[in-house]
């Protein structure tokens, strides 16, 4: 898996963070970037936990990403190296939660993270009070998860 270099961010680990986020969340790097919060989240983690812990996670992620040549390989490597390891799993859970809900350990990262949470798209909903679905949206039938 090639880690795409993202311009204007002079930090190699940031690219690792985005690439592993892509695998952990199931959203493409472009979709993650379009929340406008990628750099903010990255910096937020750096400010919240010990840098060494975060670097360790990123180094593990980097190894996984560089040594996986197919999606299956990558999935297996993530299962074995990240999900199976309690410390790594905690970290990945926090990162997934941050992308999906916009919160880090229960608190919103900033005032945008609520409305840019990925959870709203997944459940075909909208963040109440932030991104209104628009006129006549009440005429659209809810998504049926059983169909």
């Amino acid at each position: 898996m090639i880690i795409n270099k993202i311009l204007n961010v002079d930090d190699y680990y940031y690219d690792v963070f985005m690439s592993i986020s892509e695998s952990l969340t199931g959203f493409s790097v472009n979709e993650l970037q379009s929340t406008g919060l990628a750099e903010i989240y990255y910096k937020h983690i750096l400010g919240q936990i010990e840098v060494a812990t975060f670097i360790e996670f990123l180094n593990t992620s980097k190894t996984i990403l560089e040594n996986s040549y197919s999606q299956d390989q990558l999935n297996n490597a993530i299962n074995a190296e990240i999900i199976a390891d309690p410390g790594m799993q905690d970290m990945s859970n926090n990162i997934i939660t941050m992308w999906y809900l916009g919160t880090w350990e229960g608190a919103y990262v900033n005032d945008l993270s609520y409305k840019e949470g990925l959870v709203w798209n997944i459940m075909h909903a909208h963040p109440p009070g932030a991104k209104q679905p628009g006129f006549k949206s009440w005429g659209v039938k809810p998504v049926n998860s059983n169909s």
């Binding site: 919160t103 608190a107 919103y108 005032d111 409305k115 109440p128 932030a130």
Partner: protein, 102 residues
């Protein structure tokens, strides 16, 4: 012996907050008068003897600009944005979430 303060006459009803609910309560109350003959509240128009009717005295309290929007457009936008930001940052989003704790 309590010192009687006559500067503020005694009120029958005190309404705290002049939002939608407070205003509706005030309207409903002042649409009625107390009929001393019948011993109950009646509609203003249903009073038979005007000398029997007693007006209600209603006092309304309002926190004003501390909780509400400023009346000039520049600062009302600022306050509005602060409310929005606070609402987005609150973990539990309830009707009172946007407003400051007074």
């Amino acid at each position: 012996m309590s010192q009687q303060n006559n500067s503020l006459p005694k009120k029958d009803v005190i309404i705290v907050g002049t939002g939608i609910a407070g205003s509706l309560i005030a309207k409903l109350l002042t649409d009625h008068v107390f009929d001393t003959k019948k011993g109950k509240m009646v509609y203003r128009t249903e009073v038979e003897q005007p000398e029997d009717a007693r007006e209600l005295s209603v006092l309304m309290f309002e926190a004003g600009l501390e909780a509400g929007l400023e009346l000039d457009s520049a600062s009302s936008l600022t306050t509005y944005n602060e409310y929005i930001r606070k609402f987005y940052m609150e973990e539990a989003k309830v009707p009172n979430s946007p407003y400051p704790n007074l």
